[in-house]
């Protein structure tokens, strides 16, 4: 295992030290591993927190700041945070207007956020609403599974709901916007290599030199299929077509097109992929209203990429364009 770390057991707290040092406008509660806005709580604003296992950076801590998250709970690598963290974060950002919990749909995240919300409400009476993201079309959404995984849509949701909260909208309305984003977004990813969890020290799964894993999860969960390597244009089809078919996205729809790097894949390859995605969307008559290309929800050092499409209307687009000032997404301010 080759990583720039001190010790597998201190990766998360060491990285939090780095976040704190690099971003003076953010604060870190080291005991609870919570990154939060330095100006928290914002009186009268709905607070938004998220969190999850570490290893997906910049998600979630890199999205804390004006116009996006108020706080992020950092779990151990690939392990959801514990309820105490959500309690701490909820209290830190509660400005009296309630707190939205953005939760990716994994059993561990859902259970721990549920307990956190119960405990926070019991302790302080704060009103908490949770919105769960489940946009990964690689997983069948049936009663035979834990449901679809929350992946790329989470990034877009945090930005858009964050803008709604910044506008002063109430908790119910912010939660509605968030649910609308989740309902209109779909994702799928592919891994060229496995990630290596620091505490494990070797790759989570083995892939042949000429294989890739289609529909991989962001924790190295195996995907839909293991296939021989294909050129970027075919990979784009394998990722985009199932997304388009699922919602479905129709000719005339406007989307935010998001090509995400999984951690070990450099930007040049993401742009190669984006070109193919744009081509396929054009062929389907789907209009790209906005784009986002880069590593935003990663899986440690995994090589690979995911595609997320979010169908947008003028309202969602306006919220997307609103000012944001976080370590990883920033514009307008």
């Amino acid at each position: 295992m080759k990583k720039i770390i001190n010790d597998p057991s201190t990766v998360v707290s060491d990285a939090l030290n780095g976040v704190e040092a690099a971003h003076p406008e953010l604060k870190v509660d080291h005991q609870n591993k919570v990154i939060y806005r330095g100006d928290s709580p914002r009186h009268g604003k709905v607070g938004i927190i998220s969190g999850g296992g570490s290893g997906h950076e910049p998600l979630h801590g890199g999205f804390v700041g004006l116009g996006m998250l108020d706080a992020a709970c950092a779990g151990e690598v690939f392990t959801s945070p514990v309820p105490d963290q959500m309690v701490a974060a909820t209290k830190l950002v509660d400005g009296g207007a309630g707190v939205l919990h953005v939760v990716k749909n994994y059993t561990g995240d859902v259970l721990n956020f549920e307990m956190g919300a119960e405990l926070a409400a019991a302790e302080t009476g704060v009103e908490v609403v949770a919105v769960v993201t489940d946009d990964d079309v690689a997983v069948q959404d049936s009663t035979w599974t834990a449901g679809r995984r929350g992946v790329g849509v989470t990034v877009l949701l945090e930005k858009i709901a964050g803008a709604a909260a910044e506008q002063g909208r109430g908790l119910a309305e912010v939660a509605d916007v968030a649910r609308r984003v989740n309902a209109n977004g779909r994702s799928m990813g592919a891994a060229l290599t496995s990630c290596t969890v620091p505490a494990v020290g070797h790759p989570t799964f083995e892939l042949g030199d000429d294989e890739f894993e289609l529909g991989v999860g962001i924790h190295g969960e195996p995907g839909r299929q293991r296939l021989p390597l294909v050129p970027a244009r075919e990979l784009a089809e394998l990722l985009v077509e199932p997304i388009l078919a699922d919602l479905p996205f129709d000719s005339g729809d406007g989307v935010i097109a998001f090509v995400n790097g999984l951690g070990g894949t450099p930007l040049i390859e993401l742009y190669v992929l984006y070109a193919e995605v744009a081509r396929i969307l054009a062929a389907h008559g789907v209009t790209v209203a906005r784009s986002l290309v880069g590593p935003f929800i990663t899986s440690l050092d995994m090589a690979g990429a995911s595609v997320t499409l979010l169908k947008v209307d003028d309202e969602l687009l306006g919220l997307w364009d609103a000012p944001v000032r976080t370590p990883a997404l920033r514009w307008g301010i």
Binding site: T79, N112, V200, T204, G217, E221
Partner: protein
């Protein structure tokens, strides 16, 4: 002490559990790597290491606490330190066990506490038999304790039966298709792998045999 579930006996059981999980950390993680995200061993070991520290603190109390509070404390510690699916599930299991065991320390009370713990797991996780989860080891083990005691067996008999049932239940997860938790994403590809959480459950009952609790 053979037929009483004292605070010291529970302490021994829980510490034996922690030791077994530490010894099997890599194996649990390997199982989780196959159908999950390769963290179950580290998660449980982190939580049980913290639980052992909490048990030390409790044991130093005067008078030393009974079985119930020790289980409750371990449950709370697991909830606060494990994370993932296993944290709330194993945490709730011990929390509910501890709360149920508050008053009595008889084998029957232990059986009832195990049943309460199981109910907590189901309430949180909604797992059913055959979903390929910790439930598939835990539910038969709890039933085995009840059956053995009802048949007039000793606590030792009951826990031996539970351990056997947990191990069988655990082995029986291998051919199943996962329908809960992270492994469910795999559908048919989860077949042929043993569930990590069920494996941890079988370690828990094996720990009962290794420790003083079964006399």
């Amino acid at each position: 002490m053979t037929n009483s579930v004292t605070g010291a006996a529970i302490d021994g059981w829980l510490r034996a559990f922690a030791r077994l999980v530490a010894e099997h950390e890599d194996e649990l993680t390997r199982l989780d790597a196959a159908i999950g995200d390769a963290d179950h061993g580290a998660n449980m070991n982190r939580g049980l290491t913290a639980a052992a520290v909490a048990l030390d603190e409790l044991a130093a109390g005067d008078p030393p606490p009974a079985a119930g509070p020790r289980l409750t404390k371990v449950g709370m510690t697991l909830i606060s330190t494990v994370g993932g699916a296993a944290g709330p599930l194993f945490g709730t299991f011990f929390l509910r066990m501890g709360n149920a065991l508050a008053e009595q320390e008889t084998p029957t009370a232990l059986a009832a506490a195990l049943r309460a713990g199981l109910a907590g797991v189901v309430q949180r996780g909604k797992a059913e038999a055959g979903d390929k989860t910790m439930y598939d080891a835990l539910a038969p083990a709890v039933a085995a304790v009840e059956t053995a005691l009802a048949a007039g067996g000793s606590l030792a008999d009951a826990l031996a039966a539970a351990s056997k049932a947990a191990e069988d239940g655990c082995a029986a997860t291998v051919p199943l298709v996962a329908r809960k938790g992270r492994a469910s994403y795999l559908g048919e590809r989860s077949v042929g792998h043993q569930d990590p959480g069920a494996t941890t459950v079988s370690l828990f009952f094996r720990a009962a045999l290794d420790s003083g609790v079964a006399g």
